[in-house]
């Protein structure tokens, strides 16, 4: 089809676009709101905030989560903080600066209109969350404290110890719970989306599977919001929670929602290195640690001495050396690749020589143990639990790991996917971070979408539908989708092969990490694209799922998720192969500057790649959305 996508950016100057949109958007009368049903899938930051706000407005909301409770979503694991252009520190921050930082951090692969709106509503988020009782860190005078984060030269990050994501999610969860208690939201827990139903080109509802009973049922609504998170677990080893998956987005994609920029996957520079083969996941150590920790490796490769015995003169503080103005706070993609290069050259530390040092001895000397303890105590404790070493006395060992996925369902300015009536919010959509996300911006985006964007854009869509009937769950499309879902899950149970879904997931992850990870090459991607279909067909022939489909069966759940990861993995590699440039987190070795930095090709690739499902991810149709930069000037990123 290869259409040029229209993002429906409102008219006007950049800073007026959102106001213009709101002024023009159609509204639904308060008394009529209860006539509309909205389904929200996922109860993380974006989902919970959207469901709570829509219910407060008066819509009938059905919220779905595969967790036992809405409080478990992986937003909870975000540690460092949330950005907002409050300029409480008076250090030169402004909405415009946050906008520019985000565009630049995303390596000019995001949409100006969306990013500017994000920067605008960022201020409202902090107000909202404080009113809800989120215990953000405070100064002694009682005002809010800020810290700085990678990719910014101002302190605009609000935080609650090392548990900012937890506190924000609990805030949103509490608002959602209030609505559940009042009857405004019906919450379906331990219920997983297995299909999206489209009738006459409009999203009419969803098909879900009850994880406790295996029962498959349909739910019809006027609009559906996907707030189902990212797909980082395609790598098997990532910092995502074990149950994070792409199924919801992928099922929407298969029903006609375009999937954008799948190759933009972010590698987080500060994670605890893998310790053995059996490891199930990697753990992130907040980027905020880079505020006070200094990153170094021994100057001599294969220096096996313990860190405290290596004198200053034999240490290479490589980020401070290479990027003097940002130093240890260089953006994530840049820090990650620098670490990888040094480890590849044999400068790695630790038993497997697979990490770099993050050293706090200077900070402890400068600030005192108490201050360091107060700022990072819980992170240090977490590190100690996992690595079995005390970071107060020996440097932490860190290494990059997959963390966040900028790609996702393509959405326009209204967060609507290419299926009318289907929306995507939070990490599930592709919208605001371009090719690389800045630290502390994920929480900001999730809450912006859920609290301050969707409630406005959904009414614009719903208003014309007042008093018009919508298809019910008796509609043949629902019945057919249910049958397909039942057949799919019965299919997994009946393959009768020899390998568990986890085995396939691990093999899939290795291929994706090796060829579509931190550095990608044409050759590697082609190899991946030849290996993946082979492994996928083996998956279909040799899968073994024990147990039954009528009670809790985590093996069966996993099988369905791995199936979708396979298809996504192929699309990711295809996209990475197609994008013949390096930008942000997407680094193609063929396209780099003499100093090893990403080399963009603005002439040919200043666009969003959005793929259409054709039945085979290897042959997905590529569509483009041209990116125009009117305010921010296309420039080479430099953090030197």
């Amino acid at each position: 089809m290869n259409t040029l996508l229209n993002a429906k950016i409102p008219s006007g100057a950049l800073h007026e676009k959102w106001d213009n949109y709101k002024a023009d958007a159609k509204l639904v009368n308060p008394n009529n709101k209860r006539k509309f049903k909205v389904i929200v899938v996922g109860t993380g930051l974006a989902g919970a905030s959207a469901a709570a706000t829509l219910a407060e407005l008066g819509y009938q909301v059905d919220a779905f989560t595969f967790h036992d409770s809405a409080r478990r979503a992986h937003s909870i694991a975000a540690q460092g903080g949330i950005n907002a252009a409050k300029n409480y520190q008076g250090d030169g921050d402004s909405i415009n600066r946050l906008f520019v930082d985000t565009i630049k951090g995303g390596d000019f692969r995001s949409r100006e209109g969306n990013v500017h709106r994000l920067a605008q509503v960022s201020v409202d988020i902090i107000d909202q969350m404080v009113a809800q009782g989120v215990p953000f860190a405070r100064e002694y005078g009682g005002t809010l404290d800020n810290r700085s984060f990678g990719g910014a030269q101002v302190s605009r990050t609000f935080y609650a110890r090392g548990q900012t994501g937890q506190q924000l999610l609990l805030g949103a969860y509490q608002q959602l719970s209030r609505q559940v208690g009042l009857g405004g939201v019906r919450l379906f827990n331990r219920t997983e989306l297995v299909d999206v139903v489209v009738v006459d080109g409009r999203c009419s509802g969803i098909v879900v599977r009850d994880l406790l009973t295996g029962e498959i049922t349909s739910h019809a609504a006027h609009a559906v919001v996907m707030a189902t998170g990212g797909y980082g677990n395609v790598f098997y080893l990532s910092t995502n929670a074990m149950n994070c998956n792409v199924t919801a987005s992928w099922r929407a994609h298969r029903r006609g929602a375009m999937f954008a920029n799948p190759c933009y996957t972010q590698i987080h520079p500060t994670c605890i290195p893998q310790s053995d083969e059996s490891q199930s996941k990697l753990t992130l150590m907040s980027e905020s640690l880079r505020n006070d920790g200094r990153i170094w490796v021994p100057k001599n490769a294969d220096d096996a001495r313990p860190a405290d015995q290596i004198p200053e003169s034999e240490r290479d503080y490589y980020l401070e050396r290479l990027y003097p103005s940002y130093g240890n706070l260089a953006p994530r993609d840049i820090s990650s690749r620098a670490a990888k290069r040094l480890v590849d050259k044999g400068h790695g530390v630790g038993p497997l020589k697979n990490g770099v040092n993050l050293d706090f001895s200077a900070a402890i000397e400068r600030l005192g143990l108490d201050v360091v303890q107060e700022r990072y105590g819980n992170l240090f404790q977490m590190y100690e639990r996992i690595a079995g070493e005390d970071p107060y006395s020996t440097p932490m060992r860190i290494y990059p790991a997959t963390h966040y996925t900028m790609g996702g369902l393509w959405v326009d300015y209204e967060l609507a996917t290419t299926i009318p009536g289907l929306y995507a919010a939070g990490e599930a959509n592709f919208s605001d971070h371009g090719a690389n996300r800045l630290g502390a911006s994920a929480l900001m985006q999730g809450l912006a979408d859920g609290y301050f964007v969707l409630p406005y854009t959904i009414s614009n869509e719903l208003a014309p539908m007042l008093n018009k009937p919508i298809p019910t769950t008796d509609h043949p499309a629902f019945v057919q989708a249910e049958t397909e879902a039942r057949d799919r899950f019965n299919g997994y149970l009946n393959v009768g092969g020899t390998r568990s879904p986890d085995w396939f997931h691990r093999e899939l992850g290795k291929i994706i990490w090796d060829y579509c990870g931190m550095e990608r090459t044409q050759q590697g991607l082609e190899k991946a694209l030849s290996e993946l279909p082979a492994l996928y067909s083996e998956f279909k022939k040799d899968l073994r799922v024990t147990g039954n489909g009528e009670s809790v069966n985590q093996t069966l759940e996993k099988a369905g998720r791995v199936d979708d990861f396979f298809q996504l993995g192929m699309l990711m590699c295809r996209d990475a192969l197609d994008r013949e440039e390096s930008c942000g987190a997407h680094f193609r070795s063929e396209y780099q500057t003499a100093e090893g930095e990403a080399l963009r090709d603005d002439k040919n690739y200043c666009h969003v790649s959005a793929y259409d499902w054709t039945g085979d991810p290897m042959a997905a149709d590529l569509n483009k959305e041209k990116l125009e930069f009117e305010t921010a000037h296309l420039a080479t990123r430099s953090y030197k």
């Binding site: 209030r178 208690g181 009042l182 009857g183 019906r186 009973t213 049922t217």
Partner: protein, 263 residues
């Protein structure tokens, strides 16, 4: 105990589709009078435990202090007993105040027992299926885990103690009743001179001490008397209080057996 979860059948399959969760905060609670309303909650019953506990603690402390008169001789102790009967006399008739105090104490005891009884039932219902493997408690101590047993033994001792030294029906040597109304000192010595009685007395008081140690601390917690500055004192208070009562009480049978206090 309201069952909030969805009921599933034996095979783990549901009869009907699980219902979504909604409107959980809309139920209206039964209207009760103020006191009954508080007492209907577990926390309210804990208040009752604490308040009645304070009254009973006052009783054991003053009971012990009064009995110290024993060391001053028969006349002093008997006179003290007479004084109790004459409290506020002649404003009130003889014995009236004592009976009011006794009534109050009995009411407090009844409240303490009722609250303990209903909380125990609640707690059993809260975990109908016990852990099938041994628990490894981290901080729950002997005192806290045996409150209901130490309490029951102390209660049975109390009943026996009343029968022994108030009503005198079990104050016997062989088959002879040795109880003489008004001769408090003599009654005590004759009773405690029997070593099985003295041992029972000592054991019951040790259990009372254990009960008091946890109970006296719990009062602060249950009533919400919490102040970071004084929190460490709460344990010290409980320990000292329990020790004072136990040492005082146990000294009596020992003194009698050792012949320090004799007829």
């Amino acid at each position: 105990m309201a069952k909030t979860q969805q009921t599933l059948t034996k095979a783990g399959k549901s009869l009907a589709p699980r219902q979504p969760v909604t409107g959980t905060a809309l139920s209206v609670r039964k209207k009760r009078s103020f006191i009954a309303d508080i007492y209907s909650t577990a926390i309210g019953k804990k208040y009752a435990m604490a308040i009645s506990g304070i009254a009973l603690m006052g009783f054991v402390l003053f009971h012990m202090i009064g009995n110290l008169k024993m060391y001053l001789g028969a006349a002093e102790l008997d006179h003290y007993a007479e004084f109790l009967k004459e409290l506020l006399y002649p404003l009130a008739p003889k014995g009236a105040v004592l009976w009011i105090l006794r009534g109050g104490l009995l009411a407090m005891l009844a409240l303490h027992l009722h609250a303990a009884w209903s909380l125990t039932i609640l707690n059993h219902q809260a975990r109908p299926v016990k852990y099938q493997s041994p628990r490894d408690y981290e901080v729950a101590n002997f005192a806290s885990r045996t409150m209901r047993y130490s309490g029951m033994i102390v209660l049975s001792f109390l009943i026996w103690h009343l029968l022994d030294l108030t009503f005198g029906v079990v104050n016997t040597v062989g088959t002879d009743n040795t109880f003489v109304k008004g001769e408090v000192y003599a009654n005590v010595v004759r009773s405690l001179d029997r070593w099985p009685v003295a041992v029972f007395y000592i054991l019951a008081n040790l259990l009372l001490g254990i009960h008091l140690r946890h109970g006296a601390w719990s009062i602060f917690q249950s009533l919400g008397w919490n102040n970071p500055r004084f929190n460490s004192w709460r344990w010290s208070f409980a320990t000292v209080f329990a020790l004072v009562v136990v040492i005082g009480n146990i000294s009596f049978p020992i003194a009698v057996l050792a012949g320090i206090v004799k007829l």
